[in-house]
């Protein structure tokens, strides 16, 4: 085998039962059907087993933070839409929450209810599409994704009726919402919410006990409770590793203390891809519960508080965070008394959840690395910003 060493001096040779192999380096991405955008993994393989993995990102770095520091506070609201482009509503909310702390605007009650409704609908959109993409990564090309997108369209229609855009809603304002929902919207929303469990039943029946899904995801990409906590993982991924932590319950921001809902989490013994998948399935049920309560409890009233015409906060530092579908999404703002933020920082859940990718992939097969990445649920707009 000396010839092999001569060809590739950097390759480590592994001896096993008298046979030698050399490591294979594969660059997966940035153009790869399963990397969920422009993400690259430099994988070192021994046969099919991942022995090293280096995530490479920055292919979608769009200067979000720098742009925001050069425009008015409200001006960066539409840019937050494009962070995690599945969940524009929760991005808006996190930013609005941070900015509202700067000047202490009261949000009217109806606006709070609508915010909760929009955020929970967003969670449905995110989780349902994620499950579709995840199953797609497993090899079930198309069908689950088509089901998921069918439901997604119904919710996007609601967003469009309310805000005028399907994906980039730009609907939240400091102190409320841009406009009230049109007439009959709440009934249509109720209709969608009432029919969603029917679809979920079907989806669960198809997927949750599916033999192939069980054998491909169980015991794959385990994330221990301790590692999850020390790496700062949040969202469904943390809960799948057995930590009961949901910012909706911890912070009780907005009016989340008024709703009855449970936080699904596991006992933390496994924390594999299947757990992450199931936590999301269960979370959708809870979102529906919140939505039903919110749609029943919503009253009349204004949707925009008395926000100042010129947003010029006094020097201060604030951090506003929400439980976005992917985890804790936070905005850290430093105001210096001008109409522009001095520092504008995003804490993207996708990026921080991605940091444990290597730990989860080591020792797994290369085909499983794709699933593990899918189960983290990243969006590159948010990772790179």
């Amino acid at each position: 085998m000396s010839s092999a060493t001569a060809i590739a001096p950097n390759y480590e040779l592994i001896q096993q039962d008298g046979l030698e192999t050399s490591l294979l380096e594969v660059s997966m991405g940035p153009h790869h059907p399963s990397t969920h955008g422009v993400f690259r993994m430099d994988v070192k393989l021994d046969g099919e087993t991942v022995v090293d993995l280096q995530p490479v990102f920055g292919y979608l770095h769009r200067n979000h933070e720098k742009l925001a520091e050069n425009m008015s506070y409200l001006g960066s609201m539409p840019f937050t839409d494009r962070l995690d482009y599945f969940n524009s509503m929760t991005n808006n909310w996190a930013y609005a929450l941070a900015a509202e702390k700067l000047v202490e605007i009261e949000v009217p009650e109806r606006a709070d209810y609508l915010r909760v409704i929009m955020a929970e609908l967003t969670r449905l959109v995110n989780h349902v599409s994620l499950v579709g993409f995840f199953i797609n990564d497993l090899g079930a090309l198309g069908t689950p994704l088509l089901y998921a997108f069918r439901e997604r369209e119904k919710i996007l229609d609601l967003f469009e009726q309310a805000s005028g855009a399907r994906m980039m809603c730009n609907y939240f304002r400091f102190g409320g919402l841009r406009n009230d929902v049109p007439e009959g919207w709440l009934d249509r929303a109720r209709d969608v919410v009432d029919h969603f469990p029917v679809f979920l039943d079907e989806y669960e029946q198809l997927l949750c006990e599916n033999e192939i899904i069980l054998s491909r995801t169980q015991g794959v990409g385990c994330l221990s409770r301790d590692l999850a906590i020390s790496a700062g993982i949040t969202g469904p991924m943390l809960r799948a590793s057995g930590v009961n932590y949901d910012i909706r319950k911890v912070d009780k921001y907005s009016i989340y203390d008024r709703f009855q809902f449970r936080v699904p989490y596991t006992d933390g013994n496994v924390g594999d891809c299947y757990d992450r998948f199931m936590v999301r399935m269960l979370e959708m049920r809870e979102s529906i519960r919140i939505l039903k309560q919110a749609l029943d409890g919503i009253g009349d009233g204004p949707v925009l508080g008395n926000a100042p015409k010129v947003f010029k906060p006094k020097p201060a530092e604030v951090y506003g965070r929400v439980e976005a579908p992917k985890g804790e999404l936070g905005f850290y703002l430093i105001a210096d008394g001008t109409p522009k933020p001095y520092r504008y920082r995003v804490r993207p859940p996708s990026l921080i959840n991605l940091t444990v990718l290597r730990d989860m992939c080591l020792g797994q097969k290369v085909a499983d690395a794709v699933i593990i990445l899918g189960s983290i649920d990243i969006v590159l707009g948010e990772v790179d910003r």
Partner: protein, 218 residues
């Protein structure tokens, strides 16, 4: 598609043609037959860059159903694809890969620049890391504005592309005369892309203030 499209540009009077059709014979030019087949089976590349990619996927799902126009076969490898939908923000780190993927696609190949970002940098144009339009490096056939464009718009851009394909002439089409088009891959030099644009496909727009001055001096 009807036989009308097949007979485009033929010097055959209608009577003869319908008589032939009744006998089960369709007379057509090679060009129109070929373009009809090519336009009806444009295979796009599974190539998502940013937010617009989600709407591109949505256009392939059941509600919008791009397969009505023969383009449901999304290929992950550039070697099997005809159409590259540049769906999203092209950053300076990504631009070389985009050009490289374009170079790998076999002829005939087309490009749709989807979304404001791919056309001109869109909302992120001010950014230091965003390419101000992918047409600086590769020729774009259809520009599809929007942020993001609706899935219906994706379908319409595909229709425009099909219209364009129908007018192509085998004898003069670069796909057949020149072989596979390949463009130099730009390189990121730490500050900017080198070269900043490919003069073969893109020239900076002339400054309207320049012309009268030149005339005045001449």
């Amino acid at each position: 598609m009807t036989t009308e499209n097949l007979n485009a540009g033929m010097d055959l009077d209608d009577n003869t043609r319908s008589e032939l059709e009744r006998a089960g014979v369709i007379v057509s030019q090679v060009d129109s037959l070929y373009n009809w087949a090519r336009g009806g089976s444009v295979w796009p590349l599974t190539f998502g860059l940013a937010c617009c990619a989600i709407e591109m996927i949505a256009s392939a799902t059941s509600r919008f159903d791009i397969s009505r126009f023969g383009s449901e076969v999304f290929r992950p490898t550039p070697r099997q694809a005809d159409l590259m939908i540049v769906s999203g923000t092209v950053t300076k780190k990504m631009a070389p890969q985009v050009v490289r993927i374009y170079n790998q696609m076999p002829e005939p190949k087309w490009v749709i620049a989807m979304g404001a970002c791919a056309i001109s940098g869109g909302p992120f144009k001010q950014g230091y890391n965003v390419l101000k339009g992918i047409d600086r490096y590769i020729p774009v056939d259809v520009y599809l504005p929007g942020c993001p464009p609706r899935p219906e718009a994706v379908l319409q851009s595909l229709n425009y592309l099909q219209e364009k394909i129908r007018t192509q002439d085998i004898k003069s089409d670069p796909a057949f005369t020149k072989g596979r088009r390949q463009y130099p891959v730009p390189e990121f030099t730490g500050k900017d892309l080198e070269p900043p644009y490919n003069p073969e496909v893109w020239q900076p727009p002339a400054n309207p203030n320049d012309k009268p001055l030149e005339k005045a001096t001449a």
